[in-house]
């Protein structure tokens, strides 16, 4: 497999995990607000 293909695969994989981390972070922040802000 060429370096280009490896790099592109890593980029796509990183991109997917970035989106996952953002969604998890936003959900955690939303739960924090919802649970503790009265």
């Amino acid at each position: 497999m060429s370096d280009d293909q490896t790099g592109s695969r890593r980029f796509r994989r990183t991109l997917a995990s970035v989106m996952l981390v953002q969604i998890v972070t936003l959900v955690v922040l939303w739960l924090l607000q919802r649970h503790y802000t009265s």
């Binding site: 280009d4 790099g7 890593r10 990183t14 991109l15 939303w30």
Partner: protein, 570 residues
């Protein structure tokens, strides 16, 4: 501060300088000095990109903002991941693939020299001044806390950073950034854990107390052009700001141009997308926890010790009366906060709700006395007395265990050095590549440009330190500079967007840039309450519309002149 804390701070500064200079190997040619011969791994570039934008203001100002205002500031960064993804598939391949040293060099290849020179000039003016303010913010705090002169505070932060940046170029900057990021994250995690141990109620009770004062309110879904901290301002305005900053600002672009391939460059940007929001939330959470900590420990009436001394000397009776009221109100609030925790521990919802109401009333009483004390300080000193930047340093020095305080102070200095070293490196690059080599001396041996780059780094470093030294007395000028920066940030993004559109022409880009800045200027003076986040949207959209129309008019004129047999312009 305890001697061991000083040993940690001085030891870290010495390590950073030695490490930076050792990393200067391989910088005997211009490409090595400015781009590390495009050899840096993506993770190092990514950490360096994050380090450059994490300044001392983040460590002391943002944490302080968490203590006074809560978590809502994090919305400012909501657009960042999206911006990183957009840049990864659009601008980064263009810039990295074109083999340029600076983002502005790319604009001359695509358009013309005047567009390149104007954008590079705007970068130098705004970044040169902002570099000074980056040093000034922590220097003023250190000066007030430790009693140092401003010049000495500036030197402690500025001199090591100038030294290793001047000698080692982008390699030194990147590798030192990596080490300093490790220190900063370690300090943030260590302080968070310490706070959780120090607070005398459970973490859940602590969060309930913080939540009762609205400090855990993160999301504001209202749509407002005047409020910077809303979900929509962050998502729309923030995306444009981050696109401008990471896509067109040489201090960021230079980092990822040093990566060894397009994929490594865009992967490095995604590290910021990964960590920025969680890291920023954690920084704000430290502030929130410090607020909770001070519910059970008597906080200073004025956090700025220099102002406290002056007010005590000038108005001893008035300040004494405020201190007496403060002691009573803080004591009552402490009791109310403990009552909230006890009611919750006993599982009584009605009791907890009623205790919470009492607590809120006591907190309002404390806030009233603080507001009066800040107003008194403002009358006595003649300076703005907002002391948000002093909350965390006072907590660190008064309440953190020996060793950890030194670690945190070293992390604040590290954050300041990261930010200025990246900026000095990029200021030097733009000066040499976009002006010296373009307009003064086009042909010369590589060693000559290398020497000029080092000299330029040193000169910008001295300039930044001088600006920082006088920044205390230049409050309004600094604000003007910051506003000036927001005039053109979005407009420069617009020019780069035009550069990627096939039909755009040089005249369209240049006139679009002027129109974008004029539009932002008109909004700024006509409707000053509009948040600066929206300036980026207005600037970029205006440039693209005007640039496209002028380019289209140019193409039509060319076709018309061809049809009338006029000679075609080259």
């Amino acid at each position: 501060m305890h001697a061991l804390n000083w040993v940690i701070v001085v030891g870290w500064l010495a390590y950073v300088v030695v490490h930076g200079i050792r990393r200067s190997t391989g910088t005997k040619e211009l490409s090595g000095y400015l781009q590390a011969n495009r050899s840096l791994p993506w993770w190092a570039v990514g950490l360096s990109v994050m380090a450059t934008q994490l300044s001392a203001v983040t460590m002391i100002g943002t944490t302080g903002q968490g203590a006074t205002d809560g978590m809502r500031f994090v919305q400012f960064y909501f657009g960042l991941p999206l911006a990183m993804v957009i840049l990864g598939v659009t601008l980064v391949p263009f810039l990295h693939g074109s083999g340029v040293y600076t983002a502005y060099e790319f604009l001359e290849r695509r358009f013309d020299a005047k567009t390149r020179s104007l954008t590079a000039f705007l970068f130098l003016v705004s970044r040169g001044m902002s570099c000074g303010t980056i040093i000034a913010a922590p220097a003023v705090v250190f000066s007030a806390i430790f009693g140092w002169s401003i010049a000495w505070s500036v030197a402690i932060i500025g001199v090591p950073a100038v030294l290793y940046t001047m000698v080692g170029g982008v390699q030194a900057v990147t590798w030192v950034d990596v080490k300093q990021m490790i220190l900063i994250v370690t300090a943030i995690v260590a302080v968070t854990i310490t706070l959780l141990v120090q607070i005398p109620v459970s973490p859940s009770d602590a969060l309930h107390i913080a939540g009762a004062t609205g400090r855990l309110r993160v999301f504001d879904f209202s749509f407002s052009l005047t409020n910077t901290y809303t979900f929509w301002s962050g998502m729309i305005g923030g995306t444009f700001l981050m696109l401008s900053y990471f896509g067109t600002d040489q201090s960021q672009v230079q980092r990822y141009l040093a990566a060894n391939s397009v994929d490594e460059a865009r992967s490095s940007l995604l590290i910021s997308a990964y960590w920025k929001i969680p890291l920023q939330a954690m920084v704000l959470l430290i502030g929130v926890l410090v607020f909770v900590f001070y519910q059970f420990e008597r906080p200073p009436l004025l956090y700025n010790p220099a102002h406290e001394r002056l007010v005590r000397q000038a108005q001893p009776a008035a300040y004494g009366a405020l201190e007496s009221r403060y002691a009573v109100d803080v004591g009552a609030r402490d009791a109310a906060a403990r009552a909230v925790a006890e009611a919750r521990d006993h599982g009584s919802d009605a009791g907890a709700a009623s205790a919470m109401q009492v607590y809120r009333a006591r907190q309002a009483g404390v806030d009233t006395v603080r507001t009066e004390a800040l107003a008194l300080a403002e009358r006595v000193t003649g300076q703005p007395s907002r002391d948000v930047n002093y909350i965390i340093p006072r907590y660190v020095l008064d309440h953190l265990p020996i060793g950890l305080a030194g670690l945190f102070i070293a992390a604040v200095i590290a954050a300041a050095m990261n930010a200025i070293s990246g900026e000095l490196n990029s200021l030097s690059t733009a000066t040499v590549i976009d002006f010296y080599r373009r307009w003064v001396r086009r042909e010369a041996p590589d060693e000559h440009f290398l020497i000029v780059s080092r000299v330029a780094t040193g000169v910008w470093g001295v300039f930044a330190c001088v600006v920082a030294t006088y920044a205390v007395n230049l409050g309004s000028l600094i604000e003007v500079v910051n506003r000036f920066g927001s005039f053109f940030y979005g407009s420069i993004l617009g020019v780069f967007l035009l550069a990627m559109m096939p039909g755009s022409r040089a005249l369209g880009a240049f006139l679009g840039l002027l129109a974008g800045m004029a539009a932002v200027g008109a909004v700024n003076f006509g409707a000053p309450s509009v948040s600066f986040l929206w300036h980026n949207v207005i600037g970029a959209v205006t440039v693209v519309i005007v640039g496209t129309l002028v380019s289209a008019a140019g193409r039509l004129a060319a076709v018309a002149s061809e049809q009338h047999g006029a000679p075609r312009r080259p």
